[in-house]
Amino acid sequence: MQVAQKPQAGALVRPVKDPLDSDILPLFPPRLQSSVKDWLRRHPSEAPVVNEIRLRAGFPLSLVYLGTDALLDTTVTRDEIERTLSLVSDCSYYALESEFANGYVTIPGGHRVGLAGQVAVWPDGSVRIREVSGMSFRVARAVRGAGERVAGRLADGVGRLHSTLIISPPGCGKTTLLRDLCRISAEGFPPAGIAPSQVGIVDERSEIAACYLGVPQHDLGPRVDVLDRCPKAKGIMMLLRSMGPGVVATDEIGSQEDAQAVATALSAGASVLATCHGENVEQVKRRPYSSWLVSSGYFEQVVVLSRRKGPGTVEYAGKPDGRGGVG
């Protein structure tokens, strides 16, 4: 499927080739494949913005796009879920047990597959999904160029990006923007005066680099080291000790350990690019650990995103105190 949607002003530019056809649909049994393809053919304007496909045993196949969903006529069977799950796990459930315990796996292309079903809790406290009855395929679309509009605002004047916190509610493009800022840092971006840097990414949920077997599936540039599925706080310290990054990037900071690790990275002279859930800067400032990082000046810049004009709409980019920003 070739995507030719005209981007809305202020929103992220969509990639040219949609990964739904190449990466996700081939995993589905033929009946589900043809049902989705048929819907996409009948809804060409919604097709490029489908960001999730949900399979639930005994319920209609569901496509999620732009905050709403379409329930298709096709009812998903348990056997179809099992067949899909078998392919998603590369016929190797045992090799992905820890991922299954976390409730998701990442497939080639960086798409995350969330799982639901009957959970068994083991005496050691670990959990395992025994009977998978629901799967959610979240389409990962890298948007090259998503960060270029804000790169000039975030440049520190000496060739690097300022330490930046990207804030938005879910589904507004924080990870997409973070990913492209990593690429910009790694490749350099002369129009904004950004020189190439060594970039270290701690990708706890495999969403930034979308590694498959340790190899990033997104184009992040030539100077990027990724610690895939590594806890943020541990990963930041590991990167600082071993890889000497000029820029450290991580997703969804929130805990005390995360905040301390970010502060350590900044003290070590690295710029930190991170994301955080929230509607605006004030909401983030009301949270215990992220507020400490923002109010104490660890993050020199914040970017607030919304989906007012489509995912990735930049509502604000500037200093955390609201000075010198653009909205």
């Binding site: 995993l27 796990s89 459930y93």
Partner: protein, 179 residues
């Protein structure tokens, strides 16, 4: 020059050929039994390797099957290798689909029905559970192979000797009758 010796020499040569033919037939039948026994040993090796790949290095199933097949060799090894190459995310096939395709392709036709049935039964459970359960399934298959091998070893020992002697003696008998 007299050629009186020729009929006697022809008879002797013919007798030797008949005895040899009988012997070859007997040895070939015995050899087939021994090949079948070797194939059972190879299947056991393949299953042991598969179990190690899964339990010690958590190798994804396509790679684990290919490595186990390489180490085992023979028709069982070839089948494991082929199923490994045809299965998984990159091939968009689960294990049972890959096995059906590999069996239809034919290189494993020399496998006995027991071996094919065993691999089919195992394939239904491969890759669908945690590594401990996987190892248990494979161990159950190994037990089946071992028990079949023990039975077959006794059978093979008795029958192989019988086929060899029977071949030679029946050849000799035919030669005597012909003489």
């Amino acid at each position: 020059m007299s050629l009186a010796w020729l009929p006697a020499a022809s008879k002797a040569l013919g007798s030797v050929m008949v005895v040899a033919a009988g012997g070859i037939a007997g040895f070939s039948l015995a050899g087939r039994l021994e090949t079948e026994l070797k194939e059972l040993q190879r299947l056991e090796t393949a299953l042991l390797c598969l179990s190690s790949e899964i339990s010690y290095s958590l190798t994804p199933l396509p790679g684990a099957l290919e490595r186990a097949g390489e180490r085992a060799g023979g028709a069982s090894g070839a089948l494991f290798e082929r199923v490994g190459a045809l299965t998984g995310l990159s091939q968009r096939r689960n294990v049972t689909q890959a096995l059906d395709l590999a069996l239809a392709e034919g290189p494993s036709r020399s496998l006995a029905p027991f071996e094919v049935d065993l691999v089919r039964d195992l394939a239904k459970n491969l890759g669908t559970s945690g590594h401990k359960e996987q190892v248990r399934y494979i161990e159950m298959s190994i037990d089946r192979v071992r028990s079949r091998r023990r039975e077959f070893e006794d059978e093979c020992r008795k029958k192989a000797k019988l086929y060899r002697y029977l071949g030679l003696f029946s050849g000799a008998c035919i030669a005597i009758v012909l003489l």
